[in-house]
């Protein structure tokens, strides 16, 4: 595409797909996505950094997330000393301001009344390179993050999930959860966090997304003025070259403590952009989406379980497909695991029916429509696609899902639901 397609000089227009326009700022290569919708006087600004907990190692697990917290402590132009702290400036306008961290990415966002959007862009641009990453900030934020960790530990499913991922991944950094190990949260040094910031928080490692009600030309000009102050990184980004070795046998973990009785069955699946993922997504829906789904009938209708959930995770690197089953009081772990495996086996052996696939596709269609219900939903969904390395999935997924056949579903079930690549987790409620 020609660079003169941009309404503001200095940007290269890359493409437009599904109402989303992609630009790149020539001076520092920051990517910009614009999704205009003037039906409500609300806008959202989000910066997605291509850094997550997979960029951590032992000793500083949880660093990406701890750094995300410290990023709210102030920056050169927006800080308490000047009376311009970002949270008070934004929140006093009614803005929703927050950030999240996951394996592959960290995102910072503001959902604001339309006229506050320029301020949101200023805030995000300023903290990209001038955030106060200080020992004072680390010391203040560490116990807050530790309490967030403790909250998660109170939840049986979160505790079990950490153990399942840790067993499923022995080499790849998806091994540790994004919140990190408690001792690393407590012990990571400010120097390590500063290095992390300086390694990854650069414009050419970020995507700015603006959604909702805004003027395209004014907004691009504002982005150029604010983010254009920063140069691209002069040195290479740290390479992540660890791949998970092929799993050669079933792995099992147990968590024994007060909580609930729960079974998790996980299998290795490929990265989000792999051609098999749409079929795996629909397989997940056929297993558990609504009251017609197979695991609802096998577990909920029969009262073997109080709850079932399936997750076809879509990350930048190969991950896992998980099913969690929360047991009713008289159901044993052995029974639940047997029933779950039997349901998987039925699909491997006999495939799925045409009405099942049709329902799964309709559910996916509804889910994709809900991703655009307001600026926050859009930003949040687009963020995950940006994190996979291909934001256009946000638009193309509907077509790839529509093209999935019953044969595809059976093939991926056979290919990925194998004992050798599985990890089984039991949460065993104890009265201790």
């Amino acid at each position: 595409m020609a660079s003169n397609a941009s309404p503001v000089p200095g940007f290269t227009f890359i493409q437009e797909l599904g109402g989303i326009k992609e630009y790149r700022l020539n001076s520092n290569r920051i990517r910009v996505l614009l999704v205009e919708d003037n039906s409500v006087p609300v806008a959202g600004c989000m910066v997605t950094y291509h850094v997550g907990s997979k960029n951590e190692a032992t000793g500083y697990t949880g660093a990406t997330h701890l750094l995300e917290h410290i990023m709210f402590k102030g920056s050169e132009r927006f800080n308490k000393e000047l009376g311009t702290s970002m949270d008070s400036l934004m929140e006093s306008k009614g803005a929703i301001i927050n950030a999240t961290t996951w394996f592959d990415r960290t995102n910072y966002y503001e959902v604001v009344p339309r006229d506050v959007l320029p301020l949101a862009i200023e805030v995000e641009a300023d903290r990209m390179r001038t955030a106060y990453i200080t020992e004072e900030g680390r010391a203040a934020e560490m116990p807050i993050v530790r309490n967030e960790f403790e909250r998660g530990e109170n939840l049986p499913m979160e505790a079990l999930e950490k153990e399942v991922w840790a067993a499923a991944f022995t080499a790849h950094p998806y091994h540790h959860s994004t919140i990190g190990w408690r001792s690393d949260i407590e012990g990571v040094s400010i120097e390590r966090l500063q290095q992390f910031y300086n390694d990854f928080y650069w414009p050419d490692n970020a995507t700015v997304t603006i959604a909702g009600s805004f003027d395209e030309k004014q907004t691009l000009a504002k982005i150029k003025k604010e983010f254009g102050r920063h140069p691209a990184k002069a040195t290479p980004y740290p390479a992540l070259y660890t791949t998970e070795p092929v799993q050669q046998g079933e792995r099992r973990v147990r968590v024994e403590r007060a909580g609930v009785n729960m079974v998790c069955l996980a299998h290795k699946i490929p990265e989000a952009t792999h051609v098999d993922v749409p079929a795996l997504m629909l397989l997940g829906s056929i297993l558990f989406e609504d009251k017609t789904s197979r695991l609802y009938k096998a577990f909920i209708d029969t009262a073997l379980a109080t709850d079932v959930s399936t997750y076809c995770w879509q990350f930048q690197d190969p991950s896992i497909f998980e099913t969690f089953v929360t047991l009713t009081p008289k159901t044993t772990h052995e029974k639940a695991e047997t029933v779950l495996r039997k349901e998987y086996q039925k699909i491997i052996e006999s495939g799925v029916t045409a009405p099942e696939l049709a329902r799964a596709k309709q559910a996916a269609r509804a889910s994709l429509a809900a991703r655009q219900d307001g600026p926050y939903a859009l930003l949040s969904s687009l963020n995950e696609e940006i994190a996979t390395g291909d934001w256009t999935r946000f638009v193309t997924l509907s077509d790839t899902l529509a093209a999935v056949t019953r044969a595809d579903i059976q093939r991926v079930a056979k290919l990925y639901f194998t004992s050798k690549t599985s990890t089984v987790g039991w949460f065993v409620h104890t009265l201790s």
């Binding site: 006087p41 702290s85 006093s92 807050i144 909250r151 007060a258 109080t306 929360t326 329902r359 219900d373």
Partner: protein, 424 residues
């Protein structure tokens, strides 16, 4: 800005039922939020769980549709529908593609009027519900919230939460006849429906009229005023649960007015000044979290303000076991500091801006707008309230807020906490 109500139509079908229809810029999604009169407060305490089981089974078959038929019809259309029990109302919530609106509204109506509550499903639903209750026995947040309600309310009050043990006993004794009897009490009485999203008003109106005209007329359930009885005694209770890394903690007190009171919006504002959710929007987040690092989150909430009901104020926080005692003391101290020094004209002005901006953002999704319209319907407010809210907030004065501050004094707050407590 154009009034929000400009695009919204309110329709009264019969007997004061209220239907709100709001076309928005959303594409390919229609969201429905609604409710009818009828909830567990209308049953004897020992039978209250019948409302829970009924809500669970309203979509499990009618005299003309099988359970599988209903679920497959929803699935075929990518539509969702769920029912939930409440104290005074049974709620429904759903979404669909625009072309399926009549189908979904008709199904809601049919389920409310004609659900057959199959016997095998009652057994299954009871087993699952008992499992949920067993699970909740080790859930620190649920246990702390329940314990606080028992400190604040007498046993007859609608907001008094039974212990998990009592609920298990009551649920075990529920028979299908109890569930069927409750279901039969549901009618068009108190019907409020908000339909929001990718729709044409005239088509949605026709669909709503057609769907809900078959709902039977109710018997005229009247709610009595629920005011706090007797003398409220400030007290504390700890609910120990093994193996927990975090302590869920509630501070709370009763509030002597309802949402109809002129004091209510100043009270909401005061509550938000003390315990707003953002990093800087509440005094407790600024101090107990950001300054002292005692918690990931500490938030003030208004709870239990049902129709004609005096509710409560509570603060929810999570604390580490190692610092629980000092965190509780620090929280009480900061409440005192706030009540003495935190209520200023500047702070109130900022809070008003925040509440108004946040309100408008909340209406930017179909779910947010539908939820607001449903609340307006349930609370008996005029549709114009949706536009009037910002000016009502703007009109709140500092003295109105200050006059309410004695209600939140630490010496009036009870405490309930659950987790693994450090040995003394």
């Amino acid at each position: 800005m154009n009034p929000i109500t400009q695009q919204i139509t309110e329709v009264e079908l019969k007997d004061g039922t209220r239907i709100f229809i709001a076309p928005t810029g959303a594409k390919n999604i229609v969201t429905i939020e609604g409710s009818v009169r009828g909830g567990w407060s209308m049953l004897a305490r020992s039978k209250a769980e019948a409302a829970l089981i009924a809500a669970e089974l309203l979509d499990s078959g009618t005299s003309t549709k099988s359970k599988d038929g209903i679920h497959e019809a929803l699935g075929k259309r990518g539509a969702s529908l769920s029912f939930k029990d409440g104290a005074d109302r049974t709620f429904f919530s759903g979404s669909c593609f625009p072309e399926d609106l009549l189908f979904l509204l008709s199904l809601i109506s049919e389920c409310l009027a004609d659900a057959i509550i199959p016997a095998p499903d009652v057994i299954s639903a009871k087993t699952r519900a008992l499992g949920d209750l067993e699970e909740s026995a080790t859930d620190t947040r649920t246990q702390a919230a329940g314990a606080l309600s028992r400190l604040l309310y007498d046993k007859t009050h609608v907001n008094y939460m039974e212990t998990t043990k009592n609920r298990i006993q009551n649920l075990t004794a529920i028979a299908r006849a109890d569930v069927v009897s409750f279901r039969k009490s549901l009618s068009r009485e108190g019907l409020v429906v908000a339909i929001v999203g990718d729709l044409e008003t005239s088509k949605a109106r026709t669909a709503a009229e057609k769907a809900f005209k078959t709902l039977p007329k109710g018997v005229g359930i009247s709610l009595e005023e629920r005011i706090h009885q007797g003398t409220y005694i400030v007290s504390e209770t700890l609910v120990p649960i093994n193996d927990k890394a975090n302590i869920d903690t509630y501070f709370g007190t009763t509030i002597p007015f309802t949402y109809d009171s002129p004091e209510y919006l100043p009270f909401v504002t005061l509550s938000s000044m003390l315990g707003g959710r953002g990093l800087s929007s509440g005094h407790l987040m600024r101090t107990i979290r950001e300054r002292d690092g005692y918690t990931y989150g500490i938030y003030a909430q208004q709870v239990g303000f049902l129709e004609k009901t005096q509710g409560a104020f509570r603060i929810w926080a999570t604390f580490s076991p190692a610092t629980f005692t000092e965190a509780v003391a620090a929280t009480k101290k900061e409440i005192t500091v706030f009540l003495k020094k935190g209520m200023t004209e500047d702070a109130l002005s900022l809070k008003k801006d925040e509440m108004i901006g946040n309100y408008l953002i909340g209406l930017s999704t179909t779910r947010g707008l539908a939820g607001m319209l449903h609340t307006i319907g349930v609370e008996g407010k005029p549709l114009s309230y949706i536009d009037a809210y910002p000016s009502l907030i703007r009109a709140i004065t500092l003295s109105e807020v200050q006059n309410l501050s004695p209600l939140l004094a630490p010496e009036n707050l009870s405490l309930a906490a659950s987790g693994t407590f450090p040995k003394q």
